[in-house]
């Protein structure tokens, strides 16, 4: 069958099972967009290419599939970079297709030419510059395979315009053959035995759960192991929602902005079992110090994570699901009752601050998060921006089901929450989707409200308005005792903004208004903006407690 390169690209996407793509057209990707007219795939036209990548990421995370975004060459390609890097840091499977100038113009600084494979190689799992239309079916097949297997990540395919136009005899690609890509998924039985022995000796073990437990769908195995061995669980930012917030063995999120009991347990544990977590500095602080105190077991599918930030005593390179199931099958015999009693008591003693929903001058974010979670139900998907809003959502929203928390953990990318909520809603139209936003971050991808409107995506925006870059403001107040460039005094009139897009809107400032307002927001069809007045001095870093001071 004779096809054009562009037709082969569309066909390859369909064969990969893609039903929805996010993108933005331009000259160098025009042949693809023309071929798209004959396809049933849904295309979501974002307002900026960065939004397309973030939306594809939200879609991928909500549906647990590979997200796809399509951009043109030059400025389209450079605009998508932040989205690619954000997905890379959080190991999100994406395939990014960029148009490129004609092959014979490459290297001549021609109009809208940029070396996007060169630019993105540090933060793509792999990338391709297509040299011949014949290669397209194979490259697309490889790209989806690479993006979704092993440690997932973004893969970029740069397709020159002439290759999209070339007519060639289509041949179905053979099975993926990548000798340079070794996948180790099954846990090694000897290593499992070693970990079992370590677990059985431990008096004070914890399991530290990262995003890998979610991407390998190992949450059931995690809970079974935690329960049967009575091991307390802490999560990184990326591990949130892997275990229900109210699970008796769950202590909370690690890190400077995390939960006291979780950090306490990390500091006192005699064995730390890291599962699908890369020991980022934001979560773990000084990894060396932890390794001096405790036995470290590291389970990760990416061999390069083993020994990168912490030197483990035992390591298993495997899919988290296989490793946890393997451990479970060995039925380790542990006695941790004293330890569990200690950390559960600490958790109870340091209950998260909450306030009754009584009249107040400003909205207390923890209370808002609790009520949001209670009313939106266990299936609701929550995206966040970055800043205090992210911390409040992470620490106080009651997550009950896996994959319901979508946030930029590794990069901390402001402007991620709005487009990723759009992607999540497009992917899961039957689920409530709540976008927790800060007034600063909300304006970083503000243009995507247009996409939300066009797609009739009923996202519920909960805007925490403190008229400033709250997290930076908080750090400046603690560390520098004076402020620099954190005030957003001239925020727009958000009510008029919502009206401009035809979204529902209301504004609350008192805790006794939360419940009614959230109910109305959830019951109103279509997109909705709930503006919440937050005290600009509301902290996310709580004063150090006496136990912590030692």
């Amino acid at each position: 069958m004779q096809v054009s390169g562009a037709q082969a690209m569309v066909q390859a996407l369909e064969q990969a099972g893609v039903t929805t793509i996010f993108g933005y057209p331009g000259a160098a990707i025009a042949p693809f967009y023309d071929a798209l007219v004959d396809s049933n795939m849904r295309h979501v036209l974002t307002r900026n290419e960065q939004g397309a990548a973030h939306a594809a990421s939200g879609y991928a995370r909500a549906r647990q599939v590979t997200g796809v975004c399509v951009v043109t060459s030059g400025p389209g390609a450079t605009n998508v970079i932040t989205g690619i890097a954000t997905a890379y840091m959080d190991s999100i499977p994406l395939v990014i297709i960029s148009g490129q100038v004609m092959t014979d113009l490459i290297g001549s600084d021609s109009f809208q030419e940029v070396d996007i494979t060169g630019a993105t190689s540090p933060f793509t799992k792999h990338n391709y510059l297509v040299k011949s239309a014949q290669d397209l079916p194979r490259i697309f097949q490889e790209a989806f395979y690479l993006a979704s297997t092993g440690r997932p990540g973004p893969v970029l395919i740069d397709v020159p315009q002439d290759i999209q136009m070339a007519i060639f005899e289509y041949e179905k690609p053979e099975a993926v053959h990548l000798p340079g890509y070794r996948l180790i998924t099954e846990a090694n039985p000897e290593q499992l035995l070693a970990v079992k022995a370590q677990l059985e000796q431990a008096k004070a073990p914890i399991i530290c759960v990262g995003g890998g437990v979610l991407s390998s769908n190992a949450t059931q195995e995690l809970m079974q192991l935690a329960q049967s061995c009575q091991i307390p669980v802490v999560t990184t930012m990326m591990g949130i929602s892997a275990i229900p917030f109210d699970h008796p063995l769950y202590l909370g999120t690690l890190g400077s902005h995390g939960i006291f009991a979780a950090n306490y347990a990390l500091n006192k544990a005699d064995l730390v079992m890291l599962v699908g977590a890369r020991v980022g500095n934001r979560a773990m602080g000084s990894a060396q110090e932890i390794a001096r105190r405790a036995q470290i077991v590291h389970i990760d599918i990416d061999p390069a994570e083993i020994g990168k930030n912490i030197k483990p005593h035992t390591a298993i390179v495997a899919d988290a699901k296989s490793a946890l199931a393997g451990l479970l099958a060995l039925n380790p015999q542990t006695d941790t009752s004293e330890w569990v009693a200690t950390v559960t008591a600490i958790k109870a003693d340091h209950q998260l601050p909450d306030k009754p929903a009584a009249a107040s001058a400003t909205i207390y974010p923890p209370t808002l998060m609790r009520i949001l979670g209670e009313l939106a139900g266990p299936d609701a998907i929550v995206t966040t921006e970055v800043g205090q809003n992210q911390i409040w959502a992470a620490n106080h929203y009651p997550f009950r089901k896996p994959h319901t928390f979508i946030t930029s953990g590794g990069m901390g990318t402001m402007g991620y929450g709005l487009p990723s909520s759009l992607g999540a809603k497009v992917g899961c139209p039957e689920l409530p989707v709540i976008a927790v936003s800060g007034d600063g971050s909300f304006q970083m991808s503000l243009q995507e409200l247009g996409t939300v409107k066009q797609e009739k995506a009923a996202v519920k925006f909960v805007l925490l308005n403190n008229s400033r870059l709250g997290m930076v403001h908080e750090i400046q107040s603690i560390r520098y005792k004076r402020y620099s460039q954190v005030f957003l005094e001239e925020n727009p009139d958000f009510e008029k903004l919502a009206a401009a897009y035809g979204f529902g809107y209301s504004k609350i400032h008192s805790n006794d208004q939360i419940e009614a307002a959230v109910r109305i927001m959830l019951d109103t069809p279509g997109p909705y903006l709930l503006e919440c007045q937050i005290d600009p001095h509301e902290p996310t870093l709580y004063p150090v407690r006496k136990e912590e001071k030692g």
């Binding site: 190689s121 540090p122 799992k125 690479l146 340079g180 070794r182 990416d302």
Partner: protein, 161 residues
């Protein structure tokens, strides 16, 4: 800190050299030399990379290189059981009265004369890095116009079974 030599089989891919060198710079790995050329396998090249670092760093270098899809195989070559070679071209200015001395040095090291004119000689020497360095040390008494080194290439020795 010590030197480690990696023999890396890669797909012969135009963008790959920049991917490899980019990896070294962004992860702050110290690279002493990198030599690359086609090899016995069609469409593949073999790189010899000499890195300087402790065990933990070399472990990371190997693992990070291995993550590149176009890297097919990495061998950490044992110092005792490998053959290491490097080549240098040294272009030296010599007046008639220094000529004999220079030729004697060349003779001792078995360096080849590959180009000569009235006022200069270009010498070629192949050997292990320390031999090359010893040779270059002796040339310091002369006026050196240019030194070009290839970087080390290496191959493991046959194992006696």
């Amino acid at each position: 800190m010590s030197q480690h030599t990696l023999s890396v089989l890669v797909n012969n891919h135009p963008g790959l050299l920049s991917k490899v060198s980019g990896l070294f710079s962004r992860r702050s790995f110290n690279i002493d030399s990198l030599a690359v050329g086609i090899c016995e396998i069609p469409d593949c090249s073999r790189m010899t990379i000499v890195v300087n670092g402790d065990e933990a760093m070399v472990d990371q270098v190997i693992k990070q290189l291995d993550k590149l899809i176009d890297v097919i195989e990495i061998e950490h070559l044992p110092v005792q059981n490998s053959v290491f070679r490097e080549m240098v071209l040294a272009k030296v200015a010599v007046e008639a009265n220094q000529r004999t001395e220079l030729l004697q040095i060349a003779e001792i090291f078995r360096a080849k004369i590959v180009d000569v004119s009235l006022h200069h000689i270009t010498l070629e020497l192949t050997g292990q890095a320390d031999k090359i360095s010893g040779f270059l040390n002796l040339l310091e008494d002369f006026k050196i116009l240019r030194i070009v080194r290839t970087g080390t290439i290496a191959v493991p020795r046959f194992e006696e079974i």
